[in-house]
């Protein structure tokens, strides 16, 4: 009975919110990519690049500009996030080039990117830090309190001392939802993912829109990696993404290819992820608690939870010329 109450504790929920963020950001990225019609299995690899470059950007900036960072400590982690997003976009650009321009199978390209990321992160880590698997410690953002909620005593653990990146991520979800639903860019992106031929006939640049979707997904997955390294672990280490890029894909599918849906689904995965982090006394071996999010992913994909409808042209390369 004891563990049942601990399953709903505020501390656990606060932890769940924290660990939801990397999954959420990557899932949001996946929404942009797949709404444009490109499956991005390489999300995991992009996230790995994000963790590494997040730590590097943070570390190098703090080393190069100690005076500046002493005055405004948040600059170093901000530099890390920026570096991670740029690295993520660079990696996503490879995926875009290979799948959109060369029309190679999107899954193959993604798998190759994941392999490349593992090797590249090890190689670069040796160059930067002399060892293959770990960076030195890096500083995170100054935690913030949410103005109104912090006054409510019960909500203390949730509303105080939280990462500003959490607020940014939630804001990005709202912006993303509105963008896809209401803006010209969002409608075009969806058009390209649903019926590229029709979109092309209407004068929409199919390749350009798809590139945009993939690049945004790269930036967001890079940011997701940066969050893991900078805000959660305060360093980069090999294998720290733990398949969250893949879980994010499941979250996106469960969220029915919409940002707000992805938020709900990511929260579900985040909750199970938090269970594995907190020392909650459960009558199950710890190894199995660790893979709860992965088990849930399978159940979600099998439609035991809900059926979903992907964009019609998702995963189908588009070619302008008739064949």
């Amino acid at each position: 009975m004891e563990y049942v109450t601990s399953l709903l504790s505020l501390a656990l929920i606060a932890s769940a919110i924290r660990v939801t963020m990397p999954i959420l950001l990557a899932a949001l990225g996946a929404v942009y990519s797949e709404r444009g019609g490109v499956i991005n299995i390489g999300l995991e690899g992009i996230m790995i690049m994000g963790t590494f470059f997040g730590a590097v950007g943070d570390y190098v900036f703090a080393r190069q500009y100690p005076a500046l960072v002493a005055a405004i400590p948040d600059l170093a982690p901000a530099a890390g996030v920026l570096a991670a997003m740029l690295a993520g976009m660079a990696f996503a650009l490879i995926h875009a080039l290979v799948t959109i321009t060369f029309r190679v199978d999107q899954i193959i390209s993604g798998v190759a990117l994941n392999l490349l990321a593992v090797g590249l992160a090890r190689f670069l880590n040796i160059l930067f830090f002399g060892v293959a698997t770990q960076s030195p410690g890096v500083s995170g953002f100054t935690p913030v309190d949410i103005p109104i909620l912090e006054g409510i005593p019960v909500l203390g653990p949730i509303a105080t001392g939280i990462s500003p990146m959490i607020l940014v991520a939630l804001l990005l979800v709202l912006i993303g939802h509105w963008t896809l639903l209401r803006t010209r860019f969002g409608l075009r992106l969806r058009g390209v993912g649903e019926h590229p031929r029709a979109a092309d006939t209407l004068g929409i640049n199919v390749y350009g829109m798809r590139y945009a979707g993939v690049l945004i997904s790269g930036a967001l997955a890079g940011m997701a990696g940066a969050y893991l390294a900078i805000e959660q672990a305060h360093l980069y280490f090999e294998g720290m993404t733990q398949g969250r890029g893949f879980i994010a894909l499941a979250a996106m599918i469960f969220g029915n290819w919409w940002p707000l849906g992805a938020l709900g689904a990511s929260a579900l995965f985040g909750y199970f992820d938090a269970l594995s982090l907190r020392v909650v006394v459960l009558p199950v071996p710890s190894q199995f608690i660790n893979v709860l999010p992965h088990i849930v992913s399978i159940l979600v994909l099998a439609g035991f939870v809900r059926r979903a409808q992907p964009p019609a042209a998702d995963g189908v390369p588009y070619t302008k010329e008739e064949e």
Binding site: I41, V98, N114, L115, L127, Q242, H294, S297
Partner: protein, 377 residues
Amino acid sequence: MKWRLLVLQIATPILAIVFGVVIASIIVLAIGRNPLDVFGVLLRFGLLRADSLLSILFKATPLIFAGLAVALSFRAALWNIGVEGQYYIGAFCAAYVGFGIKGLPVAVHLPLAVLAAGLGGMLWALVPILLKLRRGAHEVITTIMMNYIAAAVILYLIADVFRDPSQIGTPRVRTPEFPGSARVPSMGPLLGLLGLTGPDANKVNWLLIFGLVLCVLFTVLLSRTRFGYEVRAVAFNPQAAEAAGIPNARIQFLMFMLSGGVAGLAGLSDVLGFFGYLDIDFPKGLGFLGISIALLAKNNPLGVVLAALLFGFLDRGALGVQFFARVPKEVIVILQALIILAIVVAYELVTRYIRMQRKREAERPATAPAAAAEAGH
């Protein structure tokens, strides 16, 4: 014309390797080293030493199984990204038969262990394929998730349930050792007759030959039998195949099971052939290398052998690069990934080029039969 296309198809993988080498050279240059040195060492160390050649054979053995497993699924238009998890489970099943049963003759014990590994791989492949065929869950993500679950299961079984009691208190977390009857014999004695001796010769075991035989058998199965024809039909055009009375679901299920079964064998060379116990740090990542190998081989079982040897060579050469050229051996991992990206782009471009050529030939006006006939030869 036919000749040109054949040359083109053979040249494609070579061009892709060259592209990978060029990009890797740029990376080596960027860190201030001479790429000629690095690739010189790679070739000299990797190819011109007897112990390296034996090491390549040892490293290629598990890669043949992993690559063949992935290729079999790709052949049926299925994505088995779960070879990684399938061989974890296979390796454990073989280990369990290995240390759990005593007093059997080798002629019974060893085949039983190998069979258990295959069944373990199939068991782990069963979940994703059933979920795909019954519930429409895309196998790419489910197989990836099964990999993580397999890692957790193995960790639990080795560390918490079947840990060798005599090792408790030491940092070694592994199962009890297997008796000799469950070990794959070394090819060392045979290689010794050829004048190849030393520790690397003893590492090479008979699973290498078993892997080669499997590749030949699957070549025959896929290109010379009715089943192979049905597999091609399903992969090429599922609707047409179904209309022709070929049951898509059954063919895909069988191919995925074969893929999982072969995947289950990938860990055996290390576990039954080399260590003789299943350690918590047994070699990982073979499943992902298998994907690269299948892509490089264009899913051809015999090509898998060549690609596995290439990756074995790169892996061995990486040691030399690290030791003699003082460049991190990860540069070779990057090279492998680049080759894969280059190869898939190159295959795609060649396929498109060939299609275009065929179309052009077909559209040639009938008033010029001589020219068309000439182009056809």
